[in-house]
Every structure is written in structure tokens, then in C-alpha cells.
Amino acid sequence: MSSNTPAISVTDLHKHFGSTAALAGLDLNVEAGEVAGFLGPNGSGKSTTIRILLGLLRADSGSVKMLGGDPWDDAVALHRRIAYVPGEVALWPNLTGGQAIGILSKLRGGVDPAKRDELLERFDLDPTKKARSYSKGNRQKVALVAALASDAELLLLDEPTSGLDPLMEQVFTACIREVKDQGRSVLLSSHIFAEVEKLCDTVTIIRDGVTVEAGHLDALRHLHRTTVSAVLDGDASALAGVPGINDLVLEGSKAIFTVGSEDLAGVLRALAGYAPRSLVSAPPSLEDLFLRHYGGLPVPAAEAKTGSHAQADTAGAR
């Protein structure tokens, strides 16, 4: 059944807290077996959406389905099939991390001890320490181990790596890839673009409780402009007249501009006539997509902290 039932299907979701509207018509779809990124700035409604999916908050209006069920009415049954990691993990200060993992796993319906021990090892977590003495990152590891040790069909992860160091982020990335290989679904709310670009098939970007961009990452990239940085033999200002070049920034013989995917072939042909000494092109990064919707300025490729490809290219150009 999980092959054709969407993992999450949210349409026109509304939620008010008093007079403030937290969600105002949010759409979110996650197909079974898909890793979905969920992006939005602080206060845009990501956590509210996840809490509604967990049946902790009640939707004002709109349709919400998770694994084919109603998150509010079928909460207990659905929760046997999902796992949740909050961004801010609150634990019982006088219990050990291992005890907390045991309690959370039992509530989800049992745990495979071998898998739990393997995860404790990979995340380098001491389960005999009291939760009081854990740092934010270690508390997050407790929730991650409990969630990843389960055989949940769907993982709801709310900024799960916000307290982890880069090494542990790599472990997390590997774990999520394994989850994906097993055909399970993941909703990953995050602020880390590189992480989402690495892991996610689809992305939903929200702003002020409304979905502003959603779809496959590749398709989204295609809709947006590629950033090109070129160093010419002569003065680069001649490029200003080339059709299809946008957002041109000139620094002597160096030019940085953006090109829509439909104009890319024409612009490259025109560039060849100016004898470029070096040329770096970066696909639109998730950060560019994100900032576009939040009024941020377009970031020149050379300075942008983008995906690994672009960084390697830039390094080569220097």
C-alpha cells in the first residue's frame, strides 16, 4: 500500500494562534519512498506544520493526510509507523540518554537492540550519562538514535542537525541515505542548503505559512538562472549588450552575470567571440532559489557558498 499512498499530503492548510496566522494555505506533498526537503526562515510555519502532522496541534481548515490517515483522529495508530526528531530536544534530566531512547522506542512499539547499539556507536553517544549533562547536540543524538533505530515508514525531522558537528552531520547524511535505500520516506526541515541538496529529491519552500515553491530539485533548478563568471582578454563591459545576460557585475576584465536556461546556448556562443580566459558556471543553488523568494540579492557565484561542484570549479578558476 505504501507504494501508491502518499506519505504526506497537505492541501490549503490554515492554522491561527489567537489573531496571528501561522499557516495560511500551505501545500506539502511527500510521495512514498521520497526524501523531501522543507525550507523556510524562522517563524515561517515549518514546526507548526510538523506538529499538526503529529496531531499535537489541530488544523483550523484544509486537508491533511499522513500515510493515508488523519493525523488528529488516527494519531496513536499512525505514530506506530512514524518517527519524529524535534529541533529542540527536551529530555528527562535525571534519566540517562539510554533510558530516554528506551522510553521513546517503546512508545513507538519496540526497538532492535543491535541496530540501536550500532547507531550509538556511529553517533559516538554515551548512553549511561544523565540527560542533564548532555549538550544540545547530544540530546539531539538521543532523539536521532531512537528515530533511526525504528523501522518507521516515515521520518519527520525538524532541523535534526542544528546541534551536530560536521562529522556527525556526515553520519546523519549516511543514515538518511540508508533510510532512503530501504524505501522509507523522510520529511526533512532544515536550514542547511548543502544538506538538503545532498539528500533531498524534492523541495518545498514556504514563506509566512504559504508554499512559494515546490517540486523536484532538478526541475526547480531548470526554471531558474545559471550564474556565470567569466574573465575576458579585454574590457568586459562589452558584454552588457549581449541578449540574455542579466544582473551583470563588472570588475575590470571579470564579469559575473546570470543566464536563463533557455538563453544559455546563445550567450555561450556570444561569449566565445570575446576570447574568455576562464569560465565558471554554477547551476542555481538552493540558496539562490531560497533567497529569491525572500528578497535576498542574487549572490555572485564566486562568493556564493553553493554546492560542492561550484566550489570546486571556482577553486580551479583561481
Binding site: 519524529y84 528527562w92 539510554g98 517503546k106 512508545l107 549511561t128
Partner: protein
């Protein structure tokens, strides 16, 4: 820039203390801003008791002849044990001391404990202190500011009490000693709570420790006042700071010396707390952290098991308290009967209706058992709101646990625990009473208070459903008023009908009164209705973390 100069000034301060107290004024202002309303309410409520009680007593004893008659019969063991020795019962000032001094002094003690913990250990636990200490704030500045602000509550309350006494035309010397002795008690428990805040790592631990110390000192002085010859205190009274304050004898001998001792105790306690603060890390207590098991047992991973484990320490504390109280009540009962004059009409009316004096005393102890179990029940069930507040409930409900089962686990622990406490306290009261009553009879009589306890739980559940944020505070207020009515309603000249309309007053005080089923049925019905409404609401509302 300004931070740098402030820090620079703190470092270059001439003595070490000016460095560790840098920013004291800012910290005190900050604490005042967070607490001003609480402080005003505490001071106003405590001080206003003076004119209210004075007025009622003036009407109860309008002539000197009436007061002289009262002074002949005032000294009963019950009065001595509960409110202290009635050494000046022939004057309005002395009667005021009998009726209200102990309530005010102990209330101010509670206020000091709760406020010091709220601004001290609770903030440290929540990580807020770390943020403040990272600024140019001396090591002790925040703690000292906390102690000074809470100490000011005692001083201001005492001053208000003195001024109100003066305005009522009471003797000046006695009025000043009255305020000073009450303020002194508040300051003594300020000292206690400063140390508790250093020893415990959690605010709950600090509060429990402080309240336990207060209860211990209350019982020590109760024992001392029962041992007294006539109205001169026994030496035992010097082992309790409440005893010191009582020995100032306002409107009697007006002795200022114990007041100085209380001041000394306050300064010494505060100094010790600051020493302890120097020796420990921020966020840590004095006891080192221990390691624990790497996995959860099946029991711990069940909803009731988790609740029991989280409340283990407090459960042990409450049951030890019930055990000590039960044995104490039983033991005192015999002493009381030995001293009591069977023809003493006043004491008879105070103790109960009709039956023998001994039955009256036992009835009061049964009421105490009921009140103790009520406080336990509220505290145990209030932990549920704590789980929601902290965000831990969110994690649990994200598992396949229904809200009903989760809340039910807390309710079961509170309800069954309070029933067990009633049976234990009652049984021990009877067994240790050396023939005054049987263990079984007293256990049964105490259990009659279970419906009243359940009503308190019903009120709390109702509030947790409809008004989650102030739910615990509202329930404690309801409990406090019920306690006042049941214990002191007669002293405040509340009518019998009014007392019978309050939760703990409604219960038949066996063996002082005849058993009746109807009040218990009504209490249970109310409890059930409130609980059902509260649980229904809790299942349909949004979760509300802090």
C-alpha cells in the same frame, strides 16, 4: 564599549568583593522587574490579614472581661501545637498574636523559599543565568541581588504589619516586635533557601528541601510548645528559628534579642550560600553527577512506570513525611489528653461537637492527614503540566501513546498515592496513639478525606484542560483557601455552614463528628464532573508548551 568599561571597572575594583558584586544594582533592578507583582501581592495579602483578624477578634472579645475569661482557657495543647503559646491572651495584641502570628510567619517563610528558588536555581536550571553571567556581572552579583530583593519582601511586610498594628492603636513596642518577629522568620527561611538553592540541582529539589526544612522546624517548635510549662517556652524552642521568633514575645515581654539572632542567622546563611556558589560550577549542585543504566527497563518504558520514576524522590519524601507526621500525631495525642481540662468549654467547642476531647483531637489529626495527602496529590498531578511545559510531552505523544493514557498515568499515581498516604498516616496515628484509637479506625477515618483530595485533583484536571498555563497556581490557591477554612475557619469566625461548604471542611471529621455519606458522595460527584470536563478538553486542545 560600555560593556568593556564596565568589565574593566569590575576587574580593576579595589577589593575582590567589588569585582564579584559588579552589576549588583542592574541585577536587582532586573529581578524586581520580573517579580514586582508577586512581591506586592505577598506583602499586601500578609499585611491585610492584620486589620481583618483584628476586627474579628475585637468583635469576639469586645470587653476586657471577655478577654480575661479567654486568657483563662486559651492555653490548650492544640493552640500551643498549632499557633504557639498564648502568653498574652488577656490583651487584644496578644490575641492577635495567637490568631495570626504563626500563619503570617510561616507564609512569609514559604514566600522566601519559593521566590529565592524562582530567581535562583530555577533560572540557572533553565540556562538563563548563564546568559546573564556572560555579561559584565560579578560572580555573586545575581545571587546577592536575589537575596536582597527577597529579603526586602520580609522587611517591607514586617514594616507594614507594624504600621498597621500601630494604626489600630495597639501598643507601640509590641507592634514593632510583632512586625520584626514575622520579618525575622521570613529572613531565617531566606537563609535556608539560599543554601537549598546551592545544594540541589533542580528548582523542584530546592523547593522540596526548603519546605521540608520549614516543616521540620515547625514540628520542632510545636513539640517545644507542647512541652512548655504554662506559657514559658521549653529549651527545645531554641532549636527552631520559628521558636526564636516566637520567643521575641510581641505584646508580651517584647524581647529584641532573638531578633538579632535571626538577623545573624540570615547573614551567616547567605554567606555560606555564597561560599558554596564559589566552590561549584554554574548549573551544578554540590553532589557529583552519577552514571546510570544504558537501557530502559520494560517498567520504566511504560507510562505509569515513567511517572513513578520521575516522581521517585518526591514520593519517598511525601511518604516519609506522612510516616513521621502520623507517628507524631499519635504520640502527641496522649500528651494532649493528659494536660487537657475536660471541663474546658472553649477547647471543647474548638475540638468538635459532642464527643470526648480525645476524639476531638484525633479528628483534627485526621484532618491534617487529609490536607497532607491533598498537597501530595496536587503536586503529583501538577507534574503532568510540567511535562507539557518542558516539551517532553511532545516527544512522548509522537510515539503511539494516546493523550488519555498519558494523563491517566499521572492521575493514577496522584489518586492511588494519596489514598495510600491517607491509609498510612491514619493507621500510624492510631497505632502510635497508645489506645486513643485503633490503627484501622484512624485509617478509615483518614480515607474519608479521599473524595476531598480527588476534588482537588478534579480542579487541577479542569484547569489543565481549560487554563493550562496557570492551572497549578489556581489549584494551589483553591487548596490554600480550603485549608484556611477547614483549619482556621472557626478562629476567623466563619460560620459552620460556610466551613461545611468547603472541600476539606465538608468531610465528617471522624471520630470528632459522626460519619455521613452524603458529603463524600457530593465531593466525589463534583470531582468526577470537573475531571471529566478537564480530560475531554485536554484531548481536544492544542499542546501548549511554555
Amino acid at each position: 564599549m560600555s560593556t568593556a568599561t564596565l568589565a574593566g571597572r569590575a576587574i580593576s575594583g579595589s577589593s575582590a568583593s567589588s569585582g564579584s558584586l559588579a552589576g549588583l544594582g542592574t541585577a536587582a533592578g532586573f529581578i524586581l522587574r520580573r517579580n514586582w507583582l508577586r512581591l506586592i501581592i505577598w506583602a499586601a495579602v500578609l499585611a491585610l490579614m492584620i486589620p481583618v483578624v483584628y476586627d474579628s477578634q475585637q468583635r469576639a472579645f469586645p470587653t476586657q472581661a471577655a478577654r480575661d475569661a479567654y486568657s483563662q482557657i486559651a492555653n490548650t495543647p492544640a493552640v500551643a501545637a498549632m499557633t504557639g503559646l498564648p502568653y498574652a491572651a488577656g490583651s487584644l495584641g496578644g490575641i492577635l498574636v495567637i490568631k495570626i502570628w504563626m500563619t503570617l510567619a510561616v507564609a512569609l517563610g514559604f514566600a522566601s523559599i519559593f521566590l529565592v528558588t524562582r530567581n535562583g536555581r530555577a533560572d540557572e536550571e533553565a540556562g538563563r543565568t548563564e546568559l546573564l553571567r556572560s555579561a559584565a556581572l560579578g560572580r555573586h552579583a545575581y545571587s546577592v541581588a536575589n537575596y536582597l530583593v527577597v529579603g526586602a519582601l520580609s522587611v517591607v511586610s514586617g514594616l507594614l504589619i507594624s504600621l498597621l498594628c500601630l494604626s489600630l492603636g495597639l501598643p507601640a513596642n509590641g507592634s514593632w516586635v510583632m512586625g520584626a518577629s514575622i520579618a525575622g522568620t521570613g529572613l531565617a527561611f531566606l537563609a535556608v533557601s539560599t543554601i537549598c538553592g546551592q545544594l540541589a540541582t533542580t528548582s523542584r529539589g530546592a523547593n522540596s528541601l526548603g519546605v521540608a526544612v520549614l516543616a521540620l522546624f515547625y514540628f520542632v517548635r510545636a513539640g517545644a510548645d507542647l512541652q512548655a510549662s504554662d506559657t514559658s517556652p521549653s529549651a527545645l524552642s531554641w532549636f527552631s528559628p520559628i521558636g526564636w521568633a516566637q520567643n521575641m514575645r510581641s505584646f508580651g515581654e517584647n524581647n529584641w534579642l532573638p531578633g538579632l539572632a535571626l538577623l545573624g542567622l540570615t547573614v551567616a546563611g547567605g554567606a555560606l550560600a555564597l561560599r558554596l556558589e564559589t566552590r561549584r560550577d554554574l548549573g551544578a549542585g554540590i553532589l557529583p553527577e552519577r552514571r546510570g543504566p544504558a537501557t530502559a527497563t520494560r517498567f520504566l518504558a511504560s507510562p505509569v512506570g515513567l511517572v513513578l520514576r520521575m516522581q521517585r524522590g518526591s514520593l519517598i519524601g511525601w511518604f516519609l513525611g506522612a510516616l513521621v507526621a502520623g507517628l507524631f500525631f499519635g504520640g502527641v495525642a496522649k500528651a494532649m489528653t493528659a494536660v487537657l481540662d475536660p471541663n474546658n468549654q472553649f477547647a471543647k467547642s474548638f475540638m468538635g461537637t459532642g464527643h470526648s476531647m480525645l476524639d476531638g483531637i484525633m479528628g483534627i489529626f485526621v484532618l491534617f492527614n487529609g490536607l497532607l495527602a491533598g498537597a501530595f496529590g496536587i503536586q503529583a498531578l501538577a507534574a503532568a503540566r510540567g511535562e507539557e511545559e518542558s516539551g517532553r510531552l511532545e516527544l512522548q505523544l509522537a510515539g503511539s501513546l494516546s493523550r488519555f493514557r498519558w494523563l491517566g498515568a499521572h492521575l493514577v499515581v496522584a489518586a492511588v498515592g494519596s489514598a495510600a498516604m491517607l491509609l498510612l498516616g491514619g493507621y500510624l496515628t492510631g497505632v502510635s496513639s497508645q489506645g486513643a484509637a485503633t490503627g484501622g479506625a484512624m485509617a478509615a477515618a483518614s480515607l474519608a478525606y479521599w473524595p476531598a483530595v480527588l476534588l482537588m485533583l478534579g480542579v487541577l484536571l479542569f484547569c489543565q484542560g481549560f487554563l493550562p498555563r496557570p492551572s497549578t497556581a489556581i489549584t494551589w490557591a483553591v487548596y490554600g483557601l480550603s485549608l484556611m477554612a477547614a483549619m482556621f475557619g472557626g478562629l476567623f469566625s466563619l460560620s459552620e455552614v460556610a466551613i461545611k461548604a468547603t472541600p476539606f471542611g465538608a468531610v465528617p471529621r471522624v471520630p470528632a463528628e459522626d460519619f455521613a455519606v452524603l458529603p463524600l458522595v457530593v465531593l466525589s460527584g463534583l470531582a468526577l464532573a470537573l475531571a471529566a470536563a478537564g480530560i475531554w478538553r485536554f484531548r481536544t486542545r492544542d499542546l501548549m508548551p511554555e
